[in-house]
């Protein structure tokens, strides 16, 4: 309970400091606040869009949080979700069932993630460096494919041909056109499902054991490397759902640069949740609202850009970390 209070305090301090940045570049913080909060819940469409921005953050937040429990820091969710999206856009040409297409896409992004785990476990390469390098490689591969082999011949942009109608996930009509559908519902349940897996399954137990005390886990007979690989595979698979959501639920094709750095925002989501699965949804909701809100900034203010979301992410995770780390010094 006390932990939650500390997190809230950290978020409020972070938002306050974030507004100082606004003042520093010469904008009125009240105008910025109004612009950011104005269109969050004012119509069913806006509610739908806020949820739409929250959904990928739940997935990427989990993609960071799962390996975090095993003691790994995954900053490769961005590459994993791109690989997943490319797979989702291409697989419908091969398979006929939407279920198989989704499964194949998350399998491929899972393998991409697992590769990071493998390089860490078997080759001793640091996962942070490996994941950032693999992000660049994922961008290279997917944009090469989107401009070459799988390019839509009818389009001038680097994007794949649209997938067939059977694969589309239909958005809920309540949200008046916002692309919010089954993926959002699934995302809202997934963290709690995984929470159960972590608490009740052997696999979850081993993962937590490795994260809490590597030496003890090894002595107990848990193979550390295997856990790392599986944790990173799971992370890649979960990040792959972002690709599925984008391709099947939103754009119906792979577009170059479709992700506004959701993978990196996922880091902020997981860290604000302090790696706890039960806190991923509220944390993603906060950053989803911030992402959605900062889109309005470019229209309603002169100097602010949508990147203000990242400024707030950075400041909030720093201030939350500090409120948790703060202890009165012993005299």
């Amino acid at each position: 309970m006390k932990d939650i209070l500390k997190s809230f305090l950290g978020v409020f301090i972070g938002l306050g400091v974030g507004l100082l940045v606004v003042v520093a570049v010469g904008e009125n913080p009240l105008v910025v606040l109004k612009a950011m909060t104005g269109a969050l819940v004012s119509s069913p469409y806006d509610i739908g869009m806020t949820l739409f921005y929250t959904t990928p953050l739940i997935f990427t937040g989990l993609a960071v949080a799962i390996p975090l429990r095993a003691g790994l820091f995954n900053i490769g969710a961005e590459g994993q979700l791109m690989v997943g999206a490319m797979a989702a856009a291409v697989l419908p040409q091969v398979v006929s069932s939407p279920f198989l297409a989704v499964f194949g896409a998350i399998l491929i992004s899972g393998i991409w993630g697992g590769l990071i785990g493998w390089l860490k476990a078997r080759r001793g390469a640091h996962e942070v460096i490996v994941s950032i390098l693999m992000n660049f490689i994922a961008v290279g591969i997917t944009s090469t494919l989107a401009n070459g082999m799988f390019k839509d011949p009818d389009s001038q942009l680097g994007e794949t041909a649209p997938v067939a109608e059977v694969f589309h996930s239909v958005p809920f009509s309540f949200f008046a056109g916002a692309p919010t559908g089954v993926y959002t519902v699934f995302a809202l349940f997934l963290p709690y499902l995984l929470y159960g897996v972590m608490k009740r399954s052997v696999w979850g137990y081993q993962l937590r054991a490795v994260g809490l005390n590597e030496t003890a886990a090894t002595l107990y007979g848990i193979e550390r490397g295997r856990v790392w690989i599986l944790a990173m595979m799971a992370a890649g698979a979960v990040a792959g759902f972002v690709g599925c959501m984008e391709v099947f639920g939103n754009a119906h094709k792979f577009r170059m640069g479709f992700s506004p750095e959701w993978g990196f925002s996922g880091i902020a989501v997981a860290l604000l949740a302090r790696g706890k699965f039960s806190a991923i949804v509220p944390s993603a909701l906060l950053f989803g609202m911030i992402s959605k809100g900062s889109l309005a900034l470019e229209l309603e203010t002169e100097k602010m850009t949508r990147e203000y979301a990242m400024v707030l992410q950075g400041i909030i995770i720093l201030s939350v970390t500090l409120t948790h780390a703060y202890k009165k010094r012993a005299k």
Binding site: A125, V130, I137, T305, G314, I317, T321
Partner: protein, 285 residues
Amino acid sequence: MEEWVFPVLRTATPLVFASMGGLWCERSGVIQIGLEGFMLLGAFFGAFFALALKSVFLGFLGAGLIGAILGGVFGIAVIRFRANQIITGTAINLFAAGLTPILCKAVYGSANSSARVDFTEPLLWGPLVAAGLCAVVSWALFLWTPWGLRMRFAGEHPEALQNAGVSVVRYRWMGVVLAGVLASVGGAMLSVFLSSSFVRGMSAGRGFIALAALILGRWNPGLTVMGCFLFAFTDLMQGRLQGHEWFGIKVADPMVHTFPYAVTLFILAFVMGRSRAPKALGEPW
């Protein structure tokens, strides 16, 4: 010779500064993931101060100053409050990635690039000599001075340093601030030396590459510089291979673009053996 040596040295300049900053910080026992953020802010403020004060030198100085402040913020979090070093570094990276386009738009009217630094002749030797000095001085201080020895002890065996009556916190502070200063100056090299304006996201992973160079170089100044050269070389190759044909097959440009990252990954994973990090790296004191 002319065609490769000089360009490799030029391309390696920002990396040498950043990786030397990372070296001081990590050898003193503090993980430094925030190099990328320091570099990006350094790139912006280098161009900003150079343009505002009409002096390239003051541009570098200003970037270094901003770096010292950022290093200070980082230090307060990880040393004073013992916050998680990886999380704090990540926060700095996110903050820098978000703040630079906003500052750029506020000052120059465009979030994508700054005004051009075109009031002086292109720099030739100055930054190269400075980078060389930075590496040589780091190396000499490390191996031959009591200061360097204490720095290493702060990262290897802080208890021993403490027992010898030397403050571990003080040496870690120096490491952290040096990382901020050097990485920011390295970033300023990108905007003021290698090109002539700040461009959004121009660090493009170089902070992480500098870290990779540090790991490739086994946290050793000389070998780390070699790692920087290696990346600079592959980066240049990448530029020259764009649009090139091999046996009649044209490799797409985005694919060629990944070449330096792929080579770095390959070497990290398959060529070098495990490299041993400073023993107390990441442990708060």
